[in-house]
Point group: C2
């Protein structure tokens, strides 16, 4: 992946995953596929799983195991209340940063 993108994803990718889950619960492999469709073509699978472990340990999601017809059982992640609060905070932070950057791009700083 482009190095700039890699670094820029730090701090946002976790929020991106939470935002995807906010739409509807999903499991890791599915999330990876959705992100690929959304344009994040080369986000490594391992990266997503690492994030899922992290947000689980932070207590932002609830987990349900479901058997799959096509492979090993899936771990379906769903945002809980804490996760929603965290996501809201993420959007606030993002908005702040985004506004500042647009200002900078327009040469107003």
């Amino acid at each position: 992946m482009a190095k700039q993108m890699t670094e820029m994803l730090k701090g946002t990718l976790e929020g991106i995953v939470l935002a995807v889950l906010n739409g509807s619960p999903a499991y890791g492999y599915e999330i990876t596929a959705r992100l690929r469709d959304t344009g994040f073509a080369d986000i490594a699978e391992g990266t997503i799983y690492a994030i899922l472990v992290r947000i689980e340990q932070k207590g932002l999601v609830s987990i349900e195991k479901r058997p799959s017809e096509k492979g090993p059982p899936r771990k379906v992640y769903a945002l809980n209340t804490a996760g929603e609060a965290y996501l809201a905070e993420f959007w606030t932070t993002w908005s702040f940063l985004s506004e500042r950057l647009e200002q900078l791009r327009d040469g107003k700083a």
Copy 2:
């Protein structure tokens, strides 16, 4: 500083500094002050200097030493051609990420 902000700045703060320099050359202490005025209230001074060293080593800026009336000599950083190219690339990456995130926020993914 808020932890989310700290993580989100990774990969963008370097671009922010370059964008500030794109307006007009500046020295470290001045950049820190400008960023504080712009709303980035609690970005550590040491962080800015570390970035300046980095972009110097990457060859994105030219440096001129000037005596100061109020303290030790200033190192004035100015964007060079490579720096402008790098900054342009940064904006491209930023735009891509920004668009995807706005889509996600609107629930279109």
